[in-house]
């Protein structure tokens, strides 16, 4: 864990390994239900996956343009895509759950395309991303 701290900084490591809120606390909206699924998956990650997740989040966040008018609207879009072993996207991401705002959805796909290639994943294959306008 110390190595992870050294590479990623203790704060981010702590953030990653902190258990997410109990899914049973989630409200009934589709966005929050989606959040609960993500939360349960977020706790169990290997160190390799943890490192990849943080690098990938940084990479996408550095490319993702979020104008102020999208903030505060509790938007969430779920994308699915396939990654090659070198981190390159195979094909275009697919919107699995729309936020209801086509421009926001479009914006998340654009962010993924701009971030291509991602850091090489621990394992090639399908990955699911949830883009949220706010922390929750």
């Amino acid at each position: 864990m110390a190595a992870l701290d050294q590479e990623l900084g203790p704060d981010e490591t702590k953030e990653l390994l902190t258990p997410r809120p109990d899914p049973s606390d989630a409200q009934t909206s589709s966005a929050e239900a989606e959040s609960a699924e993500t939360a349960s998956a977020g706790v169990k990650v290997s160190p390799e996956q943890a490192a990849w997740i943080l690098k990938t989040r940084r990479r996408i966040a550095s490319m993702w343009v979020v104008p102020s008018n999208f903030r505060g609207r509790q938007l969430a879009t779920t994308l699915e895509l396939r990654l090659a072993a070198n981190g390159a996207l195979i094909g275009e991401p697919r919107v699995m759950i729309s936020s209801g705002d086509p421009y926001w959805d479009d914006n998340t796909v654009r962010a993924m395309m701009m971030a291509d290639p991602l850091p090489p994943p621990p394992r090639a294959g399908p990955v699911t991303f949830v883009f949220r306008s706010e922390d929750h």
Binding site: T38, Q49, R57, A61, V66, R110, M113, F131
Partner: protein, 467 residues
């Protein structure tokens, strides 16, 4: 003769010259030697499992970078210098949006000359991606029946596809206007809502003596008076379709309503003079239809709000309280009005429906809350609140549950008015000593000063989108 090959599964080497029995034994030895490593690899793969769902929340990038190419002249020449001015105007309009910014020309790794819109050659998205552009604006400009027409295409660099293709036209001699329109369309192609650089703001200024009604472009350019008579004027308010501006004029015993018209269909001058004669008009706010006004007048010495029909003088009283009831602002659906009342001892914001019913108090913090302005998207009510003798601008949601400051300055920020896209707020402030007008994003970011002339500039009213 010795030849070398691989065991099945690629583990160990075999020597064909030893024959098949020897090969089997050697491979078996090699596999046994490598077995612990194989187990570890399989174990690791199981441990990794599928990649978990990744949650992504916004980082620090808040604006799209857009490369604006020089538009191509088509037909009768427009002039190189005018093409450059058009590009400057487009970039100026984008910069005003603060969410779709022009990419610095030094960063361009491809030609800045727009290719023909009907070109069959592939667009060089890789070069623009390397340049740091999220989008590229290409276009053509031509003379068209005494006007200038711009045909434009906005490219999404990431997916190398056109986001928008369209045409806009503007005054031949006003490249600033055409550039602002193109910029607003470009903003819309990326965010779903066009920009507001081509809208106007009305305000009150005493820069030449008496307070008059002025109008300027939203970016502060082209400031000009729309009234000239020597009487004091206040409280400008746009008709929802932008065809006229209502204001209060002090040209008689009592303040009255008057219109400046921007359309041949609306006669300028006094309105509602025969309604409740001899009573003052302090302020009027059009409902979204433009047919009705929430009007502030005085009854028995107390300011009250009435609903009046502009063309028929029909009037209904909405408030009835010994305290003052002033500064109404409509919800975008026209069903509710937020206003200021001191009925509990200090000025606070209240809500009521358009019949005057369902009254409820909205603000409970602050001892002096005033000047509410409901955002066109309905999400927020901006207002001024007094803090240590000066005013800050806060936002509250219509339920009153969320309440926070967006502009705080020791020299008072006052009189907020929303842009038609709800992304920006114009307000007045004494930050330089005298009152100037400033614009900021709805969350308080990107504050820009719009006025610089002498005199006080107050009571801004952001006009509607006219296109």
């Amino acid at each position: 003769l010795i030849s070398i090959g691989r065991c099945s599964k690629g583990i160990g080497w075999r020597f064909l010259s030893l024959g098949s029995i020897g090969t089997v034994w050697l491979c078996a030895i090699a596999i046994a030697a490598s077995w612990p490593g194989l187990l570890r690899a399989q174990s690791l793969e199981n441990e990794q499992g599928p990649l978990p769902t990744l949650e992504i929340t916004p980082g620090q990038v808040k604006a799209f970078r857009t490369a604006v190419l020089r538009f191509r002249q088509v037909g009768q020449p427009v002039g190189e210098e005018r093409v450059d001015r058009l590009r400057e105007a487009i970039e100026h309009g984008l910069a005003f949006s603060s969410i779709v910014l022009p990419l610095e020309h030094d960063a361009y790794l491809a030609s800045d000359e727009s290719p023909p819109l009907d070109s069959q050659a592939p667009f060089d998205c890789d070069a623009w991606k390397q340049s740091g552009a999220d989008a590229v604006l290409q276009g053509e400009v031509r003379r068209d029946a005494g006007r200038l027409r711009a045909d434009l295409r906005v490219w999404d660099v990431a997916r190398c596809r056109a986001l928008k293709t369209g045409s806009v036209a503007g005054d031949r001699d006003d490249l600033g206007e055409l550039g602002r329109i193109v910029a607003d369309e470009t903003v819309g192609s990326l965010t779903g809502t066009p920009g507001v650089s081509a809208t106007e703001i009305a305000f009150v200024s005493d820069r030449t003596g008496t307070r008059q009604i002025y109008v300027m472009e939203a970016d502060g350019s082209d400031q000009r008076p729309t009234t000239r008579s020597p009487y004091l004027k206040l409280a400008p308010e746009w008709m929802p379709d932008g065809r006229a501006i209502l204001y209060v004029i002090y040209d008689g015993l009592q303040p009255a309503f008057s219109l400046t018209s921007r359309s041949s269909e609306i006669r300028p001058g006094p309105i509602l003079r025969n309604l409740m004669k001899d009573r003052p008009r302090y302020r009027g706010r059009f409902d979204p239809t433009g047919e009705w006004l929430a009007m502030v007048t005085s009854v028995d010495g107390a300011a009250e709000i009435f609903l009046v029909k502009r063309k028929t003088n029909e009037a209904r009283r909405l408030t009835n309280d010994p305290g003052i009831d002033v500064t109404p602002s409509w919800s975008p659906d026209g069903r509710e009005i937020v206003f200021v009342s001191d009925r509990t001892g200090s000025p606070q914001l209240y809500l009521m429906n358009r019949e005057g019913g369902d009254l409820r108090r909205l603000t409970y913090t602050g001892s002096y809350n005033a000047a509410p302005a409901w955002s066109p998207d309905g999400r927020w009510i901006a207002y001024e609140t007094r803090v240590r003798g000066q005013f800050d601008i806060w936002l509250t949601d219509p339920s009153g549950q969320i309440n926070f400051p967006i502009a705080q300055h020791a020299r008072s920020d006052e009189g907020p008015s929303w842009s038609p896209d709800s992304r920006k707020i114009v307000f007045s402030s004494r930050r330089r000593g005298r009152y100037d007008l400033y614009v900021m994003d709805w969350n308080g970011d990107n504050v820009q000063r719009l006025t610089s002339d002498a005199g006080d500039n107050i009571q801004p009213a952001w006009g509607p989108r006219l296109r």
